[in-house]
């Protein structure tokens, strides 16, 4: 017992130690320091003063003393906009992907894998490049405006870039594979015979969809939504390129604290708030999925 047990333990320790070291030193430790920073006082010229300081959160949440730090509702509104844009992104990509995913599941094996390949392919192309494409399309001298002007539909170019719409469009475009794949997976698992049974029982196509397909694809919808929501909420690349200075999201705010304002403690506080929001949503996801699974087992 002892001998074989020791051998096993040594082997296990050998296999696990690299990831343990990697994640302790370069993941847990950085996140802990981030948390510590969120409660430190910002130095005058960047840097930090090692004092306990709750004013970083005070600035955002409202208990700032108004002397050193001021409560500014603008942070609330930026948070609000981030949530609004992230949720809009989720809903639009869900609506866009659902019919297409449904269509792909109805194809033959070969065509299904072909369209799955098509949907994953953009994921391999650079994110910046894909966003850049939309800059070219949306900007005042961009493809849409030039085309519309050249065929005489409009005289003056539209303002499409640097709007909330452009930011949502960009996020939807980049995160579409993340929504499509979980949706497809849950729709594909759907038992065909279930749909046929429903049809046999006299339910029309619409009814079958509402009563069978839709409820059973809820886990895929929720999964895809979470996977799209998380990177949307903290995003700063998309709002930076397509939203400019007009459409600030939390990501931009955090980035500014680090690379322009050099107020690291405040940036850390903002980052922790994003993280807590994300973890909350994940918790909801896990609960929903567990409940759905429990329902299906019944």
């Amino acid at each position: 017992m002892a001998l074989a047990g020791t051998r096993k333990r040594v082997r296990l320790a050998g296999l696990l130690s690299p990831i343990t070291i990697l994640l302790t030193v370069f993941f847990i430790a950085p996140l802990s320091i981030l948390l510590v920073y969120a409660f430190l006082e910002p130095g005058l010229y960047g840097g930090v003063v090692w004092n306990f300081y709750d004013q970083n959160f005070g600035r955002i949440l409202g208990w700032a003393d108004g002397y050193y730090e001021e409560f500014d509702p603008v942070y609330f509104s930026i948070f609000g906009r981030s949530f609004r844009l992230a949720i809009t992104t989720v809903l639009i990509s869900l609506l866009l992907c659902y019919p297409a995913a449904l269509w792909v599941t109805s194809l033959s094996e070969r065509w299904r894998s072909f369209f799955l390949f098509l949907i994953t392919l953009p994921f391999f192309a650079s994110l910046v490049v894909r966003l850049f494409a939309w800059v070219l399309i949306l900007k005042p001298t961009g493809w849409i405006n030039e085309t519309l002007i050249s065929i005489g539909m409009i005289v003056k170019p539209f303002d499409m870039l640097y709007t909330e719409g452009a930011v949502v469009l960009g996020m939807v475009y980049v995160f579409i594979p993340f929504m499509f794949l979980p949706l497809y997976a849950s729709l594909e698992k759907l038992d065909r015979s279930l749909l046929e049974a429903s049809g046999d029982l006299g339910a029309g196509r619409f009814k079958t969809f509402m009563r069978v397909t839709l409820p059973l694809s809820v886990p895929g919808m929720v999964g895809g939504s979470i996977i799209v929501f998380i990177p949307s909420l903290g995003n700063f690349i998309v709002p930076d390129l397509l939203g400019g200075a007009k459409v600030l999201m939390i990501g931009n705010l955090i980035e500014q604290q680090f690379l322009e304002a050099r107020n690291w403690p405040f940036g850390s506080a903002l980052a922790w708030m994003v993280m807590v929001a994300v973890l909350l949503f994940l918790l909801i996801y896990v609960t929903v999925v567990n409940r759905a699974e429990a329902l299906q087992e019944q």
Binding site: M1, A2, L3, A4, G5, R7
Partner: protein, 367 residues
């Protein structure tokens, strides 16, 4: 060859309870013996086999192989090899590479390796399949590869974990004979695990009947069949009619009065008790139909009403009810194929048996 003493193994279930997979199992396996571990699934026979091969670590007890203690020696350093239930052939290696694997990893020079691989392939009848991949073979052929791979290292003991369970009946029966022959040719011990009592009776020199982690009986096939040590063995090996009741002596003959009130006569022997609660076993084939009512010396008769008859080729099976509602099964040789006409559901029959055929077993302690 193998000596197992007081082997104990416990498992913790996910629910938090403890399962005793092996409870103080002791067993000796001879040099060229074909020994079978027989029992229902989950009885511990596979655990016992895996502790011999080294994949399970005993909590208590000692395992010696070839006079050397092996209890905690890792699997790769034990002079035993295994034929796995699902064959576990390496899917990425050809048949030849699969068979030569054991020689290759133990550093056997290529020339000798090729020769030995050729030899065992011939032995198991796989000549010409060297280059094939496992997935290109039939189930029976895969089984042969698994066997060849396990014997090429010339183990002192070959362990076989239900190797024939995936084959169809015909193939299984021919493989049973072939395995026996191969064992004979190799002159090594085989430890064979199965839940199929027929297989165990056909192939083994000795059978170890295991239930709930404990050895129920060890003996030759005829011993186990003829003199089952417990109700479990009687039920698990072969078929049997079990009558539970009270033993008593009536003059010179021993009787059992079942709880339903049926009198069963039997002769005493040195192995049986004479009084107290007991279970009496009569095998279905111990019965004969007794058309006359003439008493015959050393025989007794049970009268019953037929409820069902089943034709099974050479034999004729009768399910009947003795007065008092006790069901009874009889298997009658019927070479002339006349019984089907004579015996029908509802007809009354007299089942005659020799007085020394019944076996007296201790009552089930768990009841």
């Amino acid at each position: 060859m193998i000596s197992i003493r007081n082997a104990c193994k416990r498992f913790n279930t996910p629910e938090g309870s403890v399962v005793h997979a092996l409870q103080s199992v002791s067993l000796e396996v001879g040099n060229t013996e074909f020994i079978t571990l027989l029992g229902p699934s989950g009885c511990g026979k596979t655990t016992l086999l895996r502790s011999v091969s080294g994949f399970e670590d005993l909590d208590e007890g000692v395992i010696d192989i070839d006079g050397q203690e092996m209890t905690h020696v890792p699997p790769n350093k034990r002079p035993v090899n295994t034929v796995f239930q699902n064959y576990a052939l390496f899917p990425h290696l050809s048949v030849g590479k699969n068979i030569g694997y054991g020689l290759e990893v133990t550093g056997c020079p290529p020339a000798e390796r090729n020769q030995r691989v050729g030899e065992v392939m011939e032995l198991v009848g796989l000549e010409g399949y060297e280059r094939r991949m496992p997935r290109q073979l039939s189930g029976g052929q895969q089984q042969r590869v698994a066997l060849a791979r396990a014997i090429v290292n010339r183990p002192r003991v070959l362990l076989l974990d239900e190797p024939l369970s995936a084959l169809d009946r015909k193939l299984r029966e021919s493989m049973q004979l072939e395995l026996k022959n191969i064992q004979h040719e190799l002159g090594i011990a085989f430890v064979f695990v199965t839940h199929d009592q027929q297989e165990a009776l056909t192939m083994s020199d000795r059978i170890v009947v295991i239930d709930q982690g404990a050895v129920q009986q060890i003996g030759s096939p005829t011993e186990v069949y003829d003199w089952p040590a417990s109700i479990f063995v009687a039920r698990f090996v072969g078929e049997g009619n079990l009558f539970e009741g009270e033993l008593y002596m009536d003059g010179v003959t021993l009787h059992l009065r079942t709880d339903q009130g049926v009198e069963v006569q039997l002769s005493e022997n040195d192995k049986s008790r004479r009084s107290g609660r007991a279970v009496v076993l009569i095998r279905p084939e111990d019965f004969q139909l007794d058309p006359t009512s003439e008493p015959i010396a050393d025989h007794a008769v049970l009268e019953a009403e037929v409820t069902q008859t089943i034709f099974v080729g050479t034999d004729f099976q009768i399910v009947a009810t003795i007065d008092g509602g006790l069901p009874i099964k009889a298997t009658i040789r019927d070479p002339s194929r006349t019984l089907a006409r004579e015996v029908q559901s509802g007809s009354r029959i007299r089942l005659r048996y020799r007085l020394d055929a019944p076996r007296v077993l201790p009552p089930d302690s768990s009841d």
